[in-house]
Amino acid sequence: MNVAATPVSEKVVTVTVNGTTYEHEVPARRLLVHFLRDDLGLTGTHIGCDTGSCGACTVHLDGVAVKSCAVLAVQADGGTVTTVEGLGDEELTPLQQSFSDHHALQCGYCTPGMLMSATALLAENPSPTSDEVKVGLQGNICRCTGYWNIVEAVVAAGKGSA
């Protein structure tokens, strides 16, 4: 017999973010990106659209690059998240350094998402060609650079780590 359940409006989630495990009560509808930014204060992850189009909010969830505006916080329950703040420690990763070396960022707003997408790409394909980088980053919008230097930076970082 089915009994219509009362919709859950709040839920406690346990999420490991950048190596620290957080237990937090969140509204069921809270987006992962708002959980990271507002509840945990990890403001490196950005928001640039309402439609999952721009990729500024890209993080890694259980090792996979996802747009955190298209994931609910409750879907991350029990999961492991890495944000831009979790890349490297005090030292820049080779990819972060390559972004600076190649002037692959201007305003820096899309950069965290770009770095997370590119880091995921390099994990799968350590020495991508520029065409492979373009495919790997097609879900991330940058309005400042025209992408040329971003693609160069990722290709160069790949060669460096190969």
């Binding site: 509204p27 509808r29 809270r30 708002h34 930014r37 507002d38 204060g41 403001t43 490196g44 992850t45 950005h46 928001i47 640039g48 659209c49 309402d50 439609t51 189009s53 721009c54 500024a56 944000t83 831009v84 703040e85 890349l87 490297g88 820049l92 972060q96 972004f99 600076s100 070396d101 002037h103 960022l105 201007q106 305003c107 820096g108 707003y109 899309c110 950069t111 965290p112 770095l115 520029s130 065409d131 980088v133 373009k134 495919v135 980053l137 097609q138 879900g139 991330n140 919008i141 940058c142 309005r143 400042c144 650079t145 025209g146 992408y147 040329w148 230097n149 971003i150 693609v151 160069e152």
Partner: protein, 818 residues
């Protein structure tokens, strides 16, 4: 394939200036440690959501916020009726008729575009604020809508602002030289009935917004925001709010792109200020993407009607005349300045001496226009480039030769245009040669044949363009003689602190242009140290006293005004440091040099004071000096030497510098579908001395990407009811990685004789990509129907239409020859 080739790393100076040093901003930004306005939180702050009009034109019959206020977690609301009591309408730049526009922070009495803010709701969370907004009941009485500028000026059109007596905000005739004589003497007159520059903007990835706090004790608001022209914002806000500008503390740090689109957020900022005061708590607003597309800072849409061009038999162009019809949208937030700013580049890069433009700006039921990268000049430069290519097409001239022949020549520099603007320096023919070499112009015909063998139409196009920078705000008086704005300014401070720290503050609001880096380069060379030890404060804060009325980052000027101020302050500090060292060493100041982080006697390096000692003396160890030691603190206001232009003749120098770009591209069009691809692209830039060539190239690349988007994909399209059809990044396609062609860039340097460093402002790019893509499409279509490109926006389906019905556009052009 991505190919980036950079040439021309010539630098004119030794030291840090001229070097592509890594940016100081980068480390925090790649670590996610930038501070954008939306990253700043305050205890107990409320989130703001705007209820927006679903109608393009309607009377506000009633507003009921009671249900929203009853919702738990809702802190309060603000309506247009309250705004109309608490504030005065914003000051209007326009003379009559546009001067009668009544514009408030929220709609008062009626709405004039879809997305216009009607009510603001504040709640404990952004989700609650959004939910509660749906409980606000607004009753509208819809009116007829006008979205086409050509219809808005017709008799009987719906009128947006009754006080204006029609939809025209500004009109004026701009005429220089002897236009009638030029046409009487012309061997050919080329007539073009209609050209259209489409509506789009740069859609910065970070949306508008602010955190606003009200200090009840001092009556002051602190506005943490991403507005990119705080000097202008407070000039608009303070009189409307009936307070002094000192009551509005504007704070920015990192800004996620601006491109001019973040200049006119002052209505929203006023609404937030009223709410922070009313609710006695900090309020925070972050715009939604759809809100931005519907309501913020569209680029000016412009028609050029009944254009005529006077051409001599040898291809010399002597003049043009046209009617420009500019569509400002529903309100004048920075407009009608677009009605004068185009005239900074009235003849484009060409030697035309006889010009007439009958300029009319109208208001329509669409989002308000505001500056957008290339503001107003881009539209006009696209027009001049279309003229060149259409004239060549119709009269059989070679497009390259026609440009070479008609460009202003290097030996004419500095060149006074027919309207009194002074092109400071440049070598356009040399830049043209450079771009032709980059793109491999000599092989174009061979590539065309190769493409034809694959069933593709290949086209080659050039776009020559200017990036005029450092406005003379006196040009506003050409639109409204009563305005009290003229000249320009920017401020910097440089100080040596107690432990020898070199600290720089700027009045600017950078959005990725690398001001912290280039300012440090300039200071380092003057103080004889490395840029690493120069600390440039990030962002803008009107508490710092490093700003003036025109402070901000807009209109291609930092390398002139901002760095001019930095240079002035650093030189002042250098003199103070030498003076102090000469007091300590009891030697003439001329004997002191600053080098390697010391003030020392030039021919006795043993007698050296480290910066730390110099900083400590006036700040913390100043007893015993017979006279005051210099304070080690310098503030400099850079002011370019402008005159107010002649208002009768509309004559005078409107900008200090003229950067130049020439773009060239090759497209291949599929004849069956109209789908096309840019297969080769090159851009040559000349912005005078490049303080940091890599940053300059980055700006060229960014402007190129915007132009490609505008030419191929991006448009704010409206239906007849005034609904925006492209309100998000699904429908409004901005270029992605896979859309980008291979790019080659190069630079030449023609230092400006008018600026402190030989630099010119740059960054807007003048829409060169739009011009060259239009030209390349027209060239490709030459082999199939010979259509004329008459719009700046040419998506695949439009190219397909031109292939199918070439006579439609051909019919808009006519040649009359003697």
């Amino acid at each position: 394939m991505t190919a980036v080739e950079t040439e021309g790393t010539t630098t004119l100076q030794k030291g840090a200036v001229g070097q592509s040093i890594p940016r100081k901003e980068d480390r925090r930004l790649v670590q996610g440690q930038g501070v954008f306005f939306d990253d700043v939180k305050r205890h107990g702050m409320g989130y703001v959501h705007f209820v927006r009009s679903p109608y393009a034109h309607a009377r506000l019959v009633s507003i009921d916020v009671s249900a929203a206020l009853e919702r738990p977690g809702v802190y309060g609301t603000l309506t247009g009726d309250e705004v109309a009591i608490l504030t005065d309408p914003f000051f209007q730049i326009a003379a009559e008729p546009g001067g009668s526009v009544k514009d408030y922070a929220l709609a008062v009495g009626k709405v004039r575009y879809v997305g216009e803010p009607v009510v603001a709701v504040v709640a404990e969370t952004r989700e609650l604020a959004r939910d509660a907004s749906e409980l606000v009941e607004v009753e509208y009485e819809p009116f007829d809508v006008v979205v086409d500028a050509r219809e808005a000026v017709a008799d009987g059109a719906p009128v947006l602002h009754e006080e204006c007596g029609g939809n025209v905000s500004y009109s004026g005739v701009w005429e220089w030289g002897d236009v009638d004589a030029a046409f009487a003497q012309a061997d050919h007159v080329v007539k073009i009935s209609e050209l259209h520059f489409a509506r789009f903007n740069s859609t910065p990835l970070e949306l508008d917004g602010a955190l606003v706090e009200f200090n009840r004790g001092t009556g002051q608001w602190t506005i943490t925001t991403n507005n990119q022209f705080p000097g202008f914002a407070v000039i608009m806000m303070a009189p409307a709010m009936r307070v002094g500008t000192d009551k509005l503390r504007m704070v920015t740090q990192d800004i996620g792109g601006g491109f001019g689109n973040k200049i006119t957020s002052h209505p929203q900022l006023v609404a937030l200020c009223l709410l922070a005061r009313k609710l006695n708590r900090p309020v925070q607003w972050t715009e939604w993407r759809t809100d931005f597309h519907q309501s913020m800072s569209h680029g000016n849409e412009r028609w050029f009607l009944d254009t005529e061009v006077a051409v001599m038999a040898d291809g010399t162009m002597t003049g043009f005349r046209s009617r420009a019809l500019d569509d400002a949208g529903a309100y004048l937030r920075y407009e009608p300045l677009g009605g004068v700013i185009w005239s900074q580049v009235a003849p484009g890069m060409y030697g035309w001496r006889n010009l007439r433009l009958d300029f009319t700006q109208v208001m329509t039921n669409k989002a308000p226009c505001s500056p957008n990268r290339g503001y107003s000049r881009m539209q006009h430069l696209w027009f001049t480039e279309r003229i060149i290519d259409i004239v060549a097409h119709e009269l059989g001239f070679d497009r390259v030769e026609l440009r070479r022949k008609n460009y202003v020549q290097p030996e004419q520099m500095p060149y006074e245009t027919p309207n009194g603007c002074v092109y400071d320096s440049g070598d356009y023919p040399r830049a043209l040669e450079a771009v032709l070499e980059l793109i491999g112009y000599e092989s174009v015909e061979q590539r065309r044949a190769d493409a034809a063998s694959r069933g593709k139409l290949l086209g080659f196009g050039i776009g020559s363009t200017l990036d005029s920078g450092t406005n003379n705000f006196g040009q506003s008086q050409l639109l409204n003689p009563d305005l009290q704005f003229s000249g320009n300014n920017e401020v910097a401070t440089v100080k040596l602190d107690i432990f020898g720290e070199i600290v720089v503050t700027l009045g600017t609001t950078p959005q990725g242009q690398g001001h912290e880096t280039t300012a440090a380069q300039v200071v380092a060379d003057i103080l004889g140290c490395e840029p690493d030890i120069v600390h440039v404060r990030a962002g803008h804060d009107s508490y710092w006293n490093s700003h003036a009325g025109f402070s901000g980052t807009y209109a291609s000027q930092f390398a002139v005004t901002g760095l001019g101020a930095v240079k002035g302050a650093a030189e002042d500090l250098a003199t103070q440091m030498k003076t102090l060292a000469s007091m300590v060493f009891q030697c003439p100041i001329e004997a002191i040099e600053l080098a390697d982080g010391f003030a020392r006697i030039a021919d006795n390096h043993e007698a050296a004071l480290p910066f730390m000692a110099l900083g400590a003396i006036p700040n913390a160890n100043n007893a015993g000096f017979p006279v005051d030691p210099p304070p080690m603190n310098a503030r400099y206001v850079f002011r370019p030497a402008f005159q107010v232009p002649d208002k009768e003749k509309k004559f005078g120098n409107l900008t200090l510098t003229y950067s130049m770009q020439i773009h060239a591209c090759v497209v291949e069009i599929d004849q069956e579908t109209g789908v096309y691809e840019i297969v080769d692209y090159a851009a040559v830039d000349d912005c005078g001395l490049r303080v940091n060539p890599k940053i300059v190239e980055g700006q060229v690349m960014g402007a190129t990407a915007h132009a490609i988007g505008a030419a191929m994909f991006e448009v704010f399209a409206y239906d007849e009811e005034g609904n925006l059809l492209t309100p998000n990044f699904y429908d409004y396609h901005v270029p992605h990685t896979l859309d980008m062609p291979p790019l080659k860039t190069a630079a030449i340097e023609s230092p400006s004789p008018f600026t402190p460093l030989g630099t010119k402002g740059m960054g807007e790019g003048g829409g060169g990509g739009i011009h060259c893509i239009c030209a390349a499409i027209q060239d490709a279509l030459d082999a199939s129907g010979r259509a004329i490109v008459t719009s700046s926006y040419n998506p695949y389906h439009r190219v397909w239409e031109m292939l199918r019905e070439p006579e439609r556009s051909r019919g808009t052009v006519e040649v009359i020859s003697k």
